[in-house]
Amino acid sequence: MGRKFLLVLCTLMTAVSLGCGQGQSSGDGGGLNGKLTLTGSSTVAPLAAELAKRFEQLHPDVRIDVQSGGSGKGISDARSGVADIGMASRALKDGESDLTAHQIAADGVGLIVHSSNPVSELTNEQVVAIYTDQVAQWNEVGGGDVPITVVHKAEGRATLEVFLAHFQLKNPAVTPDVIVGDNEHGVKTVAGSEGAIGYVSIGTAEADVKAGVPIRLMPVAGVAATTANVAAGKFPMSRPLNFVTGDDPSLLSIAFIEFCQSKEVHDLIVSQYFVPIQR
């Protein structure tokens, strides 16, 4: 029985790989050709996949594979050459000057609360007090008699670094009730808990508000948290979405990066709820 089974499986596999092999197209109609691999930030990956799809339509002989895995992976893969382009949802750090960052979009970081929360605005001092456990009830900052659930991000996340930098907090001083990973994890956590406060990508939050998720974006330092304000440079908390390359990027990489920085993809960037940058 085992042998037969094996035989059947092997036959199936051969059939499939043969059948698939024939599908590969050859010949190029001039212009760009070749294959690019992008790895890195899971935030940038959906946008990059859409950009890649449009680029492939314009240049039929080009194949661009977008992989995710996190900004850290993007940076180390760009450095080691495993990937042609790394994706990072943060600026490069001091120790990463051997790489070149190409910004393709921006993303704001905004505070969110549950939509039933009556508090409309918090001062920077109040936010710091909430995150360092000096304030534990919403009624101390003008809300109802509900304990505050502090939603924080995992160490190393780009949004966390933006948040800590803006409020001049040190991470060990923060006393979170919940630590989340991805933006959507934060949104779902806040949506499920009336007393929660957290910070996520503004684009993500706007998209979810539009989809009916019960959360509300709070202004920071009097500036409303909207992608428009981020685009206009008024909003204080934002991060760049970067493509990262090593010393000597290929012509195809350069062409793709230039395409991603051009105006013709702004509609794609907006459709993925990020902020196009003007240059």
């Binding site: 850290g72 995992a154 160490e155 190393g156 630590i179 779902k188 499920g192 808990s193």
Partner: protein
């Protein structure tokens, strides 16, 4: 018997060949774990060299970017969620297996088995999402945010039920039916047959299932990540948030570079050591030799 060609007169020794092939495969399977552990050790070596073992238990807290690397809360988290989930899954899983073998009418048994199999294939993300969106708001009135040791344990328990249920069911099905028939012919009650005859006879298979489920619970990542609250400090109640060794890796790996990354691999390595200790303890406790 005519269907199987007896080949005792055939000179080529198929048995020896079979033994060779199967043993090679067994060796190969065993080597995979060596590869994985070697990989973990290689990746975490810079951190161990740089930080040393001591600080992983003596530091004040887990803030790897601020140079604080205490892994104890995560070890406790892994232990608590695993033990708790077993308390939920063992009665449910064995109960379900007994139901399928001895209590259910034939059609219901088939339906029930399909259900358990389906549960085995529900992705951990779906478990996590369901827990996060449906269960956590229900648990929030108990205190805290709802994302807690309790929520994670509950869902983890449900996730490992199918492993226990399916392996126990095959173990019970394999109990010789003479035993069951004989007992039933003597007029023993159903639960007596189950409790005193079928379960003891299927012990070894059930134990294998428990061991696999324990290991699965210790290694589970995504669902726990969405439900445990992930704060890396000692829990003081059942509704406190908690972080396990696996979620520690999954949460921070995405953004970690060089040294932070190596330190996260240490937490994977620590998990492997905890697993080895648990397995060795079970081994020494005896009774696992057949399993």
């Amino acid at each position: 018997m005519t269907s199987s060609s007896p080949n005792t007169l055939f000179p080529f020794n198929a048995d020896r060949w079979l033994a060779f092939v199967t043993r090679t495969c067994a060796l190969f399977s065993a080597i995979i774990v060596l590869l994985v552990v070697t990989f973990l050790a290689l990746e975490s070596w810079p951190a161990i060299q740089h930080v040393g073992f001591g600080r992983f238990v003596t530091d004040a807290s887990w803030h790897p970017l601020s140079g604080l690397f205490n892994l104890i809360p995560m070890i406790v988290g892994t232990a608590l969620t695993t033990i708790g989930s077993l308390f939920i899954a063992v009665p449910l899983g064995i109960g379900s297996a007994v139901f399928g073998c001895f209590y259910a009418p034939p059609r219901l048994a088939g339906f029930h088995r399909r259900s358990v199999e389906l549960l085995a294939g529900v992705p951990s993300v779906v478990f996590g999402l369901w827990g996060l969106v449906v269960l956590v708001p229900l648990l929030a009135p108990l205190g805290g945010s709802g994302q807690s040791l309790f929520a994670a344990t509950l869902v983890l328990g449900l996730m490992i039920v199918p492993t226990i249920a399916l392996t126990s069911q095959s173990a019970l099905q394999a109990v010789p039916s003479q035993l069951i028939s004989g007992a039933a012919a003597l007029g023993l009650q159903r639960w007596v047959i189950v409790w005193r005859i079928a379960l003891p006879a299927g012990k070894s298979g059930i134990k294998t299932g428990l061991l696999l489920a324990t290991c699965r619970a210790m290694g589970e990542t995504m669902a726990v990540l969405m439900l445990a609250g992930n704060v890396a400090k000692m829990p003081d109640s059942i509704v406190s948030p908690i972080r396990t060794l696996t979620t520690n890796v999954a949460l921070e790996m995405g953004y970690a570079t060089s040294e932070h990354r190596a330190i996260l691999f240490v937490s994977g390595l620590v998990l492997m050591s905890v697993v080895c200790i648990v397995i060795l303890l079970m081994d020494f406790a005896g009774g696992w030799k057949n399993g």
